[in-house]
Symmetry: C2
Subunit: 381 residues, 2 copies
């Protein structure tokens, strides 16, 4: 079956599943979502830039990653119940990517302070608007599908969070001995919710070395920490008041955006995982049964894009023409041709005023190029 036909059938199946899903979805009007859009990595240079981080790129589809993140919530969490936390300099990109989002739903950080302040601010704001709600927290730059299955898992997690009062986290079943993720060791099964099982969390483990990662993979009960969480607003605020009281106190004094902006630079920069999850009284984990990729760098694209018969894939809108080329990754804008002749395992990215040609197994060294450019050619950053 051709790729186009396969994609079409998959779309039809998604739509069919969506209809069923949609009827069930109106049952939780108290569910909010928080999208964390503060990241600004360099691993997707030259497509991602300081002024255009990865979450605003259409890396894997027609929409930007943040656009896909909001869209996959569907009717389960409509735009008026979605908050986005982003750097103030990226607010125009958020508005452009999410035109249906009410402007007051963008929380602008004047400066990055990692995820704990974002989560606290969003929780306080949701509690102010809708006391007693439940909410999910998602990074803006993950690729997830199919959307209906994701929404079913989200609803199950919300049910679990409401009924147990625990902090619920999504775990990803490892497919290889990754050293780039933190791990969650599952404890006993606590509940079954639809297609999902819920486990207690035995412990969180920092990014391991390869030997430990291989042990985790072999043990079978370890999951990748996806950075996606679901909890009642009262549960997360309760734990934050206990574990990071200064943070909550500094923010809740005055939630007007200009007041938060004034206090924000004084907050400690710490992740929600370290500040809260690793020390919280009750954390449950729900192993994701949807497809997930955090699209960490260029070589992750073949996981989320259709490939031609020779393993090549292209995104960004460009046209690919390959002649004796294999397992290449191409990115360029609509109206542009990328022609590959006799090359294997290369990444070719054309964006703005820069072009990158890299061997695929050297993708982690894109940051070397970026740091050289900070000295040698900042106009290309």
């Amino acid at each position: 079956m051709g790729l186009v036909a396969a994609a079409l059938l998959k779309h039809v199946a998604d739509v069919a599943e969506d209809r069923v899903d949609w009827r069930a979805m109106t049952s939780r009007p108290d569910l909010f979502a928080v999208i964390l859009a503060g990241g600004s990595g360099t691993r997707f240079w030259p497509a991602s830039r300081k002024k255009l981080p990865k979450q605003f790129l259409a890396v894997g589809g027609r929409r930007s990653l943040i656009g896909e993140t909001a869209a996959r919530l569907g009717k389960l969490v409509p735009p008026e119940r979605v908050l986005v936390v982003a750097g103030v300099e990226h607010a125009p990109l958020v508005r452009k990517s999410l035109p249906k989002l009410p402007p007051e739903n963008v929380l602008c950080e004047p400066i990055g302070r990692n995820t704990a302040p974002c989560v606290a601010w969003a929780a306080l704001e949701i509690e102010r608007r809708s006391p007693g709600a439940v909410h999910a927290v998602f990074p803006a730059d993950h690729v997830i599908g199919p959307a209906p299955r994701f929404r079913a898992a989200l609803e199950a997690a919300a049910d679990q969070a409401v009924e147990s009062g625990a902090l619920v986290t999504f775990g990803i079943r490892p497919t290889f001995a990754a050293t780039g993720y933190g791990y969650i060791e599952q404890g006993p099964e606590i509940a079954r919710r639809g297609r999902s099982t819920v486990h207690s969390v035995q412990r969180f483990v920092e990014k391991p070395d390869l030997a430990r990662a291989e042990q985790f993979l072999a043990a079978g009960r370890f999951l990748w920490n996806s950075g996606m969480f679901v909890w009642t607003t009262r549960a997360i605020l309760g734990e934050m008041r206990r574990l990071t009281p200064d943070l909550v106190r500094a923010l809740e004094r005055d939630l007007r955006p200009e007041s938060v902006a004034a206090v924000y630079p004084t907050l400690a920069s710490v992740s929600i995982d370290v500040a809260v999850l690793e020390k919280a009284a009750a954390v449950h984990v729900l192993p994701a049964d949807f497809d997930w990729s955090d699209v960490g760098a260029w070589p992750a694209l073949p996981e989320i894009l259709p490939r031609d018969a020779h393993g090549n894939c292209v995104t960004g809108g460009a046209t690919l023409l390959s002649e004796d080329a294999n397992n290449c990754i191409a990115y360029g804008k609509s109206g542009e041709l990328i022609a590959l002749l006799g090359v294997d395992d290369v990444i070719v990215v054309r964006a703005g005023n820069a072009l990158l040609v890299a061997r695929k197994d050297r993708a982690q060294d894109v940051k070397k190029i970026v740091s050289r450019l900070e000295r040698e050619g900042p106009k290309f950053l």
Copy 2:
């Protein structure tokens, strides 16, 4: 010594030589030059396009190849004595590349008919304007240097042509067993002129297979046929009247451009080598003592461009940043960065709406890409 320092010293030496050269150069006001700019190959796609053939590109320097070709004539042949034969569709490019060329010095072919009709037309036009002159014929797209040495050789060839009445051709000493050029077998030495020796031509040989090319290289007396000629207008017209009488008769009836344009499509398409040189009564060859490249395809660029410590070179105005990349060739426009990471022996060309990444030893297959585009994506041609 750094590349920049070496280039600077070379430039100083050129300028010094130029001064001496210039004093001697006012001695031949009867010397004209004809630049053949009718080519439209595909081997430099995507930099060269149907509407922008290679001779109009700044492949090896700041000026277009045709601009360099005219500039290296210096004061020896000023613009008023330079004729350019080009396709009518490229006339605007000729005017842009050679702003000092009088407009009436561009002979516009309504359709390509190979080189014999070009040479005949130019010779008739020169004879009309300046009876009894001597003239040289050059392809527009060769890279030659240093210019003073080239001009000294040109003057020697002109002296030889005037004094002997023979057709004089420049031969290039082969540096490898090339199968892409015709060869000239030298006969006995006829004369010495300054740094140059002049030989009779034993025979012209069509492009050989590799075994014969190796024999030619070993024999030592074979030269590449460069397609650059010097002759008195009367000598070439005499031989053409004898060998291609129909061609001369058709053109000389009326040399007004509109009349030539009307008759041009009826002319036989044949090269000057086949129509005349191979059959002429007296042909002499002057082995070039200047550097020469016909820049036949992308892999020829390292012959004519400075390379960095890892053998990479860049042209077209782009900035190159390489990290563990070796022996690569990059082309892009000014203001653009080409970053190479961990790749060896690749050609990276970004021009207009297309980008080519090719393994260097597959450069000859660029034409395959071009012919696929004729069916699959003509807007990228």
